[in-house]
């Protein structure tokens, strides 16, 4: 198949972090990704969904929408929440920056940047956050 997509919506429960990354990994296995690349996608999805659960909705609850699609050249995952939003997007993406320093390292967004090829973060305070992560599909060798 040249192109495909799927969409998933689930409540911001911590058990759904594993569900989300595993589901994306299975979907990604329709392409010829290496096991290492699949692991990288899993980490990125885990970080993005965790952020929606922890920061987006913090004490409250809401839904997370995840859209996944691929073309012959790109595998794209977007994770969207309708929670608190981020006031300073540049600062949020600095490695080591976190608003919960007592228990977090502030490295989730950094991992996403390291493991995916293109990342864009969109957010509005009080409205929500959407992160779009792209992994390049490499042509089959030989």
């Amino acid at each position: 198949m040249d192109a495909n997509w799927m969409k998933l919506e689930f409540p911001s429960e911590s058990v759904n972090v594993q569900f989300a990354r595993t589901t994306v990994a299975i979907f990604a296995s329709q392409l010829d990704f290496t096991l290492e690349e699949i692991e990288e996608i899993k980490v990125a999805v885990s970080e993005a969904v965790s952020n929606s659960v922890i920061h987006g909705y913090s004490a409250s609850h809401g839904n997370v929408i995840m859209k996944v699609k691929y073309t012959p050249t790109q595998f794209t995952v977007s994770v969207e929440d309708f929670g608190r939003g981020i006031s300073d997007i540049v600062q949020a993406q600095e490695s080591g920056y976190t608003t919960i320093p007592e228990e977090r390292m502030g490295i989730g967004l950094y991992f996403i940047q390291e493991y995916m090829d293109e990342v864009s973060l969109h957010s509005e305070v009080g409205k929500g956050t959407k992160i779009v992560m792209v992994k390049t599909v490499k042509p089959i060798q030989g």
Binding site: Q18, E36, S46, E47, S50, I54, F111
Partner: protein
């Protein structure tokens, strides 16, 4: 999943499966309970051969526990991580404050 045993001045924790936002909190409780009231434990050894996945939530718990043993002058050792786990540990900057070993026995020899 995890289990732990005290060997001399070290708490040896064997990790199994996946550590993320959902599974990290009970793991944190477990280690804190072990460390609480036992100031003689100064080293933490994580046996990682059966750890299949970890992300920033799991790493945050490990760093937080490291801060406790750091105050006690102890060391942090990661034994037998898979290549993927080793890579994320390195990316997190944690290799600067820890040592890697190939096995549990080698880890005990390092301290």
């Amino acid at each position: 999943m995890y289990c732990s045993e005290i060997v001399g001045q070290a708490l040896v924790i064997t990790l199994e499966g996946e550590f993320d936002l959902h599974t990290a909190p009970p793991f944190k409780e477990h280690i804190d309970t072990q460390l609480h009231g036992k100031p003689e434990i100064i080293n933490l050894i994580f046996i990682m051969s059966k750890l299949t996945f970890i992300d920033s939530s799991g790493l945050g718990v490990i760093l937080g526990r490291y801060r406790i043993i750091q105050e006690r002058g102890g060391q942090l050792i990661f034994a037998a991580p898979s290549p993927q786990v080793k890579r994320i540990l390195e990316l997190s900057g944690m290799q600067k404050i820890s040592k890697f070993s190939n096995s549990a026995r080698e880890a005990l020899e390092l301290i």
